[in-house]
Amino acid sequence: MKNYNLNQQYVRDFAVENAIEAHHVNVSYGEHQSIFDVSLSFPRFKVTAMIGASGSGKSTFLRSINRMNDNVATVDGDIMYRDVNINDDKINVYELRKHIGMVFQRPNPFAKSIRENITFALKKHGIKDKKELDQRVETSLKEAALWDEVKDKLDESALSLSGGQAQRLCIARAIAMKPDVLLLDEPASALDPISTSKIEDTLNRLKEKYTIIIVTHNMQQASRMSDYTAFFHQGHLIEFNKTSHIFTRPKMQATEDYISGNFG
């Protein structure tokens, strides 16, 4: 692998409203540090893609945003969300995760019915009204473009769904919470091309209502879907810019090599 100067970076600052601003974030698993001093802001109601080779730290960084690294890794630095530093011991992580939802790489529906997959968390958060629950099930499944396929079998096991359907169910489950920010950790990497394009369509429709942060190693996906792109390499943020700029006029050698496939 080529050696790049990891301390050089090109991070453009946009004068827009940001949903989340990370300042000097370091993450380590025990002795092993996997994120080095990353400062990065995510514009509100936009799609930001984080790209990079596997092991570049992009997923680790994503998981720090809704505190999924608690008990797993040590996260230092400030992550500002609505003027609160959410990387603080005093933060109520359960409340935080209601507003910053997450969809994972592998579809992980609960071993429950399709309906319960969506209503389970809602009920636990105090929504008892049957009508309201039904409404949320329908709206979220429609937003996730799954409604037509499952509306007649809402009470069947979610484990009977195909991989692509299950992943869209997980998206529906996340947006039924009416979150502010949606984190997606390579949501289509375990799926076939047809399911992938359905997921992308779904996400394209969602970006009007949510701030979306998506980790992907698929560059076409990043260029098709996102407004902004951040390129990570070996735990360092190398470049952040508008997606169109990143893919046409990258400023850093590492970025250029990565997107042109001359990497490693």
Binding site: R82, I91, N92, Y94, L96, H99, D180
Partner: protein, 304 residues
């Protein structure tokens, strides 16, 4: 309420979490406390023979006369536990010695040489052997093994040999299932390499598979011995229950467990006779701890 206020305040989930953690921690603590209580009570009762009744510890483990209510020639009560200790160890070692070849053979059959279907069948057989209660083993020992031993070797039929035969069947499933685990843990590429070099199947089993599974098999044997050492009723039913130094394998004798089973009901709490029995229980407890430590040591060293 504003989101930025909400995420700074405890919520229902915070309370649930505290509740759940506390509840599960109480459960696990209860178990730890129970074990501590067992250790405390058995140890404090077990040493009272030596602290309250001033029996000499060395006499206890080296003398052969057990009759706590009578005073011996030297003016001290007769609390020599040696016959029971010897008998307990004899039945334990002999039954483990007898069961090990069977367990290893069954283990090899279930992991290497047996056809798929009959492996599962043997697995079921082993599980069923575990499931048979010890009194049933004792009853069968009493009605089949004791008469056979009596016919073949004379005497009453009660004794170490009968107990060994009963325990053999009882520890067999324990040793077998753990042996199977350790044989399964041997990396496949080792045996494949050996076969590729032209070794016969038996050479591969003997020189490669068994050798690298040795620590696991030793652990299996120790678990089997622990079970044999602590087994009470099945042994008590066929051992004869005479507190005599075993002269051979076919005279009636008594193990620590069998003496405990028969004795506790016939002695008065607080007397030397009763305390002495608790000392036997203490020996059992210490041996059980010793077996545990042995297993840990083997686990740590991994290979011999």
């Amino acid at each position: 309420m504003e989101i930025n206020k909400k995420i700074l305040m405890p919520s229902k989930e915070t309370r649930q979490e505290r509740f759940g953690r506390t509840l599960s921690f109480i459960s696990i603590s209860a178990i730890v406390v129970l074990v501590a209580l067992i250790l405390y009570f058995i140890i404090s009762k077990g040493i009272s023979t030596f602290t309250d009744n001033h029996v000499n510890l060395w006499d206890f483990i080296s003398r052969q006369d057990w009759s706590p209510s009578t005073i011996g020639k030297d003016g001290k009560p007769e609390v020599g536990a040696l016959p029971m200790i010897v008998t307990s160890f004899s039945v334990t070692f002999l039954s483990a010695l007898l069961a090990t070849p069977f367990a290893i053979a069954a283990g090899i059959y279930m992991t290497v040489i047996g056809p798929k279907k009959s492996r599962g069948f043997l697995q079921t057989v082993i599980e069923l052997l575990v499931g048979i209660p010890s009194v049933v083993y004792g009853f069968i020992g009493l009605t089949i093994i004791v008469p056979i031993v009596r016919t073949l070797f004379g005497g009453t039929g009660f004794g170490i040999l009968s107990a060994t035969l009963v325990l053999f069947v009882m520890v067999l499933p324990t040793i077998t299932s753990l042996t199977v685990d350790s044989l399964n843990a041997v990396p496949k590429h080792l045996s494949e390499a050996s076969l590729a070099l032209g070794a016969t199947r038996w050479q591969t089993i003997y020189k490669v598979i068994l050798r690298s599974a040795t620590p696991g098999i030793l652990t299996a044997i120790i678990f089997g011995m622990a079970r044999a050492f602590g087994e009470a009723l099945a042994v008590q039913m066929v051992i004869g229950n005479a507190i005599l130094m075993p002269k051979n394998l076919i005279t009636p004798s008594s193990t620590l467990t069998s003496q405990l089973t028969t004795g506790i009901g016939n002695t008065v709490m607080g007397t030397l006779g009763n305390n002495a029995l608790w000392s036997l229980a203490l020996v059992l407890l210490l041996m059980s701890l010793f077996f545990n430590i042995l297993v840990k040591l083997i686990g740590k060293r991994g290979k011999f």
